[in-house]
Symmetry: C2
Amino acid sequence: MNSNQDDRRRARGRGKREEILAAATERFGSHGYEHTKWADIARDVGVGPTALYHYFESKQHCLYEIMDEAIEDFRARFVAITGRERDAGAALTAVMADAFVLSEQEVLRNRVLVAEQGLLQRPSTAQREEQSRQAARARTRDLEFAWASFLSSAMREGAIPETDPRLLTRAVLGLYNSIWHWYRPSGLVELERIGDYFTQLMLAVVGLSPQAVEPTQAAA
Amino acid sequence: MNSNQDDRRRARGRGKREEILAAATERFGSHGYEHTKWADIARDVGVGPTALYHYFESKQHCLYEIMDEAIEDFRARFVAITGRERDAGAALTAVMADAFVLSEQEVLRNRVLVAEQGLLQRPSTAQREEQSRQAARARTRDLEFAWASFLSSAMREGAIPETDPRLLTRAVLGLYNSIWHWYRPSGLVELERIGDYFTQLMLAVVGLSPQAVEPTQAAA
């Protein structure tokens, strides 16, 4: 709870829009998107429901913006890490480790992302809603492309076995995403343990045994 | 499409309730649960919307019944296969192979199951709805328990490495479920290829190399 409040307080400094996004993430992530009322979010941030429309066309538009930012964060972090680690095993381990360093707000955002994935499939007739939906879909493709390119070059270098890089991307992301369907925050140690465990499984999925990863680089 | 029509025709023989479940699965799986109107399902099966209430309390009640049946099918198939295969590797390979022998209707049902998972978390105030929801949740626990027991005994026998059987269950089921978030039917060969690929990955996740699986038993 404290870490959520901190997130919200920090968000307040970045302006009303970010404050709304943070409040909506907390509501959507804790109670579900369908069960959240637009008016509840307005109350959380201390504005009238109509004032929200200055920032977002609809609750759905707000959801798409949350998803878009979440996906872009994943992509940017992935590109930054894989750009500085030359060894494929060390890069993958660093990407995985990073993917479990999450604030409570980021855990909730991951939950929103996996729970409401299906809503990204349906075209919308509202203009800004549809723009955000398409932006989030394009980001998803960018993230998948970044992963597939990385895996593909690791295959060319012989660091991991040859296979279909796009299917392997889907498997790795699918395994990671599956965590947020059942994980509920109950302390940092717990998430760390799950992170260590799923990192090992993801290395097994890409065909890297833990022994193949150089420990000094992996710790960087 | 033909296979869907066949499914529906077969369902018709099993009575109106099954016919409604089949029509709802097709709608929910193709267009999404939220975007399906109760009245559309009524039209599909040729009854008035009020007549549907003889069978289901609500659209949500119908959804829970679909999920409950899907989970029970998985559980029953899992128990049958692991009951007759003594070798853990052969049993796992047979379970995986079986998990990809799916009619178009069953693929749609899997999509409904993974897309609407989140709705199983929210208690309902409507009586039959809540009963079905709790039944589906209990079935999920039964399925996870069957998997964890199987993996746990495979660990005791030394067939797979020692680890937390419940976390491993979640990883294996999470990897399998992730497929239905993105897979769209486009021919049997395609599903077969995905099945072969993900079977190898799931064996890697449990710590069984493909070589460890005896080919003759695996083919059974």
